[in-house]
């Protein structure tokens, strides 16, 4: 499933990134590599972006980014 559809509070594991080029590079630099655990913590009032707990830190990711991240539960 894509990260966008992972419900708040449930734990997922990153499977792969379908993002390419600079976007992919940026996500990798932020620590979103296959095998990493990721937990959606909170949606912003408009629903986008969403705050994710990853590697001991909280990141805000937009739907256009989370659509390109495959996770398994």
């Amino acid at each position: 499933m894509i990260l966008t559809t992972l419900p708040i509070g449930s734990q997922g594991k990153i499977k792969e990134l379908t993002a390419r080029g600079k976007q992919r590079r940026r996500l990798l630099d932020l620590g979103l590599i296959p095998g990493t655990t990721i937990i959606p913590k909170m949606k912003s009032p408009s629903g986008d972006p969403v705050a994710y707990l990853i590697r001991g830190t909280v990141l805000a990711l937009r739907k256009e980014e989370t659509d390109l991240i495959e996770v398994s539960v």
């Binding site: 590079r25 940026r26 630099d29 590697r55 001991g56």
Partner: protein, 269 residues
Amino acid sequence: MGLTAESSGINVLKDDFNIELDRNNPIIALAGNPNTGKSTVFNGLTGLRQHTGNWPGKTVTQAQGIFTYQNKEFTIVDLPGTYSLLANSTEEMVARDFICFARPDATIVVADASNLERNLNLVLQVMELTDNVILCVNLMDEAERKNIKIDIEKLKEELGIQIIPAVARDGKGLKEIKETVYQITNKHLITKPWKIKYSREIEDAVKKIVPILEDNLYNLSSQINLRWLALRLIEGDRTILQSIDKYFLSYRKSIDNIYESEAQTDGVG
């Protein structure tokens, strides 16, 4: 007055990076992720002896300043906050180009103690590019508040570089930073940063590429980390060769200028 690498190097720094040089001060670069208190460290070290401008040709802010320690002056340049040196954005390119081509005498990377893992990405990238790296683990008070304990000694062992815990906001760690910079720049302290080893395929490719780079960049190979360059090429970085062209060209232009002015002087005198 003869042609020296130093004199043409100084022209490059001034023209390409807008750095003002005072009488051969060591140049210190300050790098780090955004929100690590990097500016607090910069302000703590320089006080009022700083000014802001822009990186040449870019709308990215640049701050440079001076601090004195043991009667010696050091110029410190605040690089843009970046998560990476892999040139995905103007900020990253500015930071990378400065460390790679301006070749500061030391680079301090400021990290957030309560987000250390994410911050280490940049630290490792800087360590791959230069040996003269100092890690400042800032916001130690925040980490303590969150019950995060950091084994600085163990981290030093694993990374092979000097590590200074700090709470820059309270002035803690600043003296240690100056002392470490002083030791590194007068070669009393040699650091051996841990180097990342990649997969067999990548290492084999690097072995093939480095000799080609040596042949083609012969007079630059002592100035550019060729292994690092090979890795960037393998990664498909399109900008790095353009950057070399740009800085090499201006280096060459400085040399041409010096030859020209020497020739003119000889003509007159």
